[in-house]
Amino acid sequence: MKKLKVLVVVCVIVMLVAFLAGCQTKKVLIVGTEATFAPFEFVDEKNNIVGFDIDVINYIAKELGEKIEIKNQPFETLVESLAAKQIDIVIAGMTITDERAQKVLFSKPYYNAHQVIVVLESDTTINAVEDLADKVIAVQVGTTGAMEAAGIKGADEHPQLKQFKRVNEAFMELQNGRADAVIIDAPVAKNYMAKLGGMKYATAPFTEEEKFGIAVHKENKDLMDKINKALDKLVQSGEYDNFVKKWFE
């Protein structure tokens, strides 16, 4: 009995110390992302979160002289987490939109992408955006792809619009034949199509180019200035092209 008490006390102390130590290292910048958005961010074979965005943010962190910690969470919660100061930075293949810009502060665009419509190779019925009117569309909730799809269907909750927490689930839905199309950013589509096979683009890219931005809390203008400067340097140094080659070719 006595031994047990000692053990409990030791455990409590250890936990307390660990907790305090955790508080001490608060100087780390927390970077929120959603790691099913390959090749921008995804989990590799070794269970590390890697990708174009991760290389970019690591470069920026080095420029800033800051340590960062990547936090993987549902895409649709990223903006809110930033506003609530649970995370410091978001880099998640996030398109700069007016709605989002009201909530958070965006960097200058660091990547441009179109939305594309992906269908099964066997599909012959979808050749234009209009053909989606009576088709089942799978998307990731909170993405610009979801907004496009909601626009096509006329409502977020349309029964033929299935919104999943993760991109891979939307593609699974397509592969399982329970959705007719996925709407997603072109680089991500390309990556999943290569990996899963049996899919094709239904149309040419059907939206204007969207601009991806890095986001921080509205009050965090200083940090954003530094990030923008680091982005400039990234492009000038030629590192940006290396990252593009590494992840998109």
Binding site: E76, T77, V79, E80, A83, A84, E99, R100, K103, A138, V141, G142, A146, D156, E157, P159, K162, Q163, F164, K165, E169, M172, E173, N176, G177, R178
Partner: protein, 218 residues
Amino acid sequence: MAIDFKLIVDSLPFLLVGARTAIVVTFWSVLLGITLGLMVALGRLSKITPLAVVCQAYVEFMRGTPMVVQIFIVYFGLPRVGVYLPPLLSGVVALGLNSGAYLGEIFRGGIQSIDNGQTKAALSLGLKPMQVMRYIVLPQAFVRVLPAIGNEFVTMIKDSSLVSFIAVQELTYRSTLVAARTYDYFSMYMATAMIYFVMTFTVSRTLMWLEGRLRVGD
């Protein structure tokens, strides 16, 4: 961070449609759970060893794995072996299978709690074992496990939110849609929590009342 009541009021009809779906999912899941639970309980108590072992394995597996994983297996996994269930049915099947394991254990406990003298008396009158179960043991066990079934209902109302992961348009899914559009998570999820609470509170009070009425001579 204030609650946006206008947003809540405006989205209430939209959310209530989701709440109705949550109730539908819960109702069918628990119904399936009760059916499976009864079979599992009888299986575990049966003298046929392989049957008892299979039932026990089922219970252990369902209780030892996360519900959301079970939902994914049914919805995303089964198509790989040619079984295509629509989202709502997938949710009901997964939740029902899970509920069946928990209710199976509850029923087993309930059955075992019935005094052996009841079985002896019923057998001595010439009833067959199945009749003894049906007319004597189960009715008494059922009244005894009613509070536990009520708990299961309440648990299931809450767990039904997990089917939002497979795009069933229940309450949580719908509130996520509004939240993702408006970025007002606090208002939306407070409203959602209130709706869930009204549902669970209503169910638990109703069952309490029902239990009071059924508890005769026990």
